[in-house]
Symmetry: C2
Subunit: 208 residues, 2 copies
């Protein structure tokens, strides 16, 4: 993203650099606010107005809306995949399941209003598609780590099958389905995911 490069241009005076960074930040924050409000493709006029700049200024910072949207997506996904997998692999399995699901529930509940924005963008931009795919790899890494004792005890084929079923259960789409399509409350959705995860483990172990 070219806008980012502006911030480190060595021959710009410091005040100018700060102003550039602040303006860029205001533009990204405004576009993010509109995406959070459910807009699938926030328009530049609205973004500029909310950021208190002209449309021309927006295009000084971003080559096109795709580049701006990718910056917004980066902000959105940072919270989802930015942190290292910090789930402990010890303690009762019920506690680890609950910890994982609570973590997903909190994050996905924030992500939910802008999920269609994310979906649409990743069809339009390969860079966005790469970023979104990191959510799934991070989830799989988290699962493999948090349930290393359980998964490690399974033969390879069952392990892969269980891991994929768990990855499906904790995909952002599953949260959207439970909350939006099937009309569950946050607590019900959390319970339901807990039930699915426990079912998968119970069956994988029974088949071992």
């Amino acid at each position: 993203m070219d806008g980012q490069a502006l911030q480190s241009k060595p021959n710009l005076p410091t005040g100018r650099v700060d102003r550039v960074a602040r303006t860029r930040e205001a533009i990204v924050a405004s576009a993010l606010a509109l995406a959070t409000a459910g807009q699938v493709a926030p328009i530049v006029r609205d973004i500029a107005q909310m950021a208190g700049v002209s449309a021309r200024t927006v295009f000084q910072h971003f080559a096109d809306t795709a580049e701006l949207y990718v910056a917004v997506l980066g902000r959105v996904l940072a919270a989802l995949v930015g942190e290292a997998p910090e789930l402990a692999a010890s303690g009762p399995v019920e506690e680890r399941v609950a910890a994982l699901i609570n973590k997903c529930a909190d994050r996905y509940e924030q992500l939910r209003p802008m999920w269609t924005f994310v979906e649409t963008l990743q069809r339009r931009s390969p860079e966005a598609a790469d970023m979104v795919s990191q959510v799934y790899s991070a989830n799989s890494a988290n699962l493999a780590q948090a349930f290393a004792p359980e998964l490690g005890a399974l033969p390879p084929e069952s392990r892969q099958r269980a891991l994929t079923a768990l990855a499906l259960a904790i995909a952002p789409e599953s949260w959207v389905v439970l909350r939006q399509r099937l009309g569950l409350s946050v607590d019900q959705a959390r319970d339901e995911l807990g039930f699915v995860v426990k079912s998968v483990f119970a069956t994988a172990v029974a088949r071992r």
Copy 2:
């Protein structure tokens, strides 16, 4: 949809009515082809060109793109929810699971390229949102019918939990996650859904 009304206008000569219906059909088919090719919002210029008509003609049949897209969605979803739930509630449970999953797999595999089109449209149009929600109600009705013996044997709370878990497993989004996000082949995705469905039943019954 006003375009539909044109076909039954009693004071139009039959040849005119046929031509109107044929043109409308060509427009919807062209928009559907573009959505199937992965376009999230097919533009009128392309639709008109493919249908061999002018953009002006497109807007004689549809008030705006939303109305045209809703007609396309109707065509897409007809195959998904149009047929009555025909799954038998008898026979070994493994066979019923396989029949259900094969049915979903075939349909969702066709729907998959245009899933983002469907997602985006239903945010834009309440009519589209209603149509999409019928997929989930039809799925729940199918599940309740095909697994009546198993679900009926569970106490009400477990029954609802199992039914929701099954509805999540056979939601179109789950198919998209397995195929696109987690990179499974059609056969692997089918196996994986079978595993999830069996796990849910095994656990629901064990808890009874």
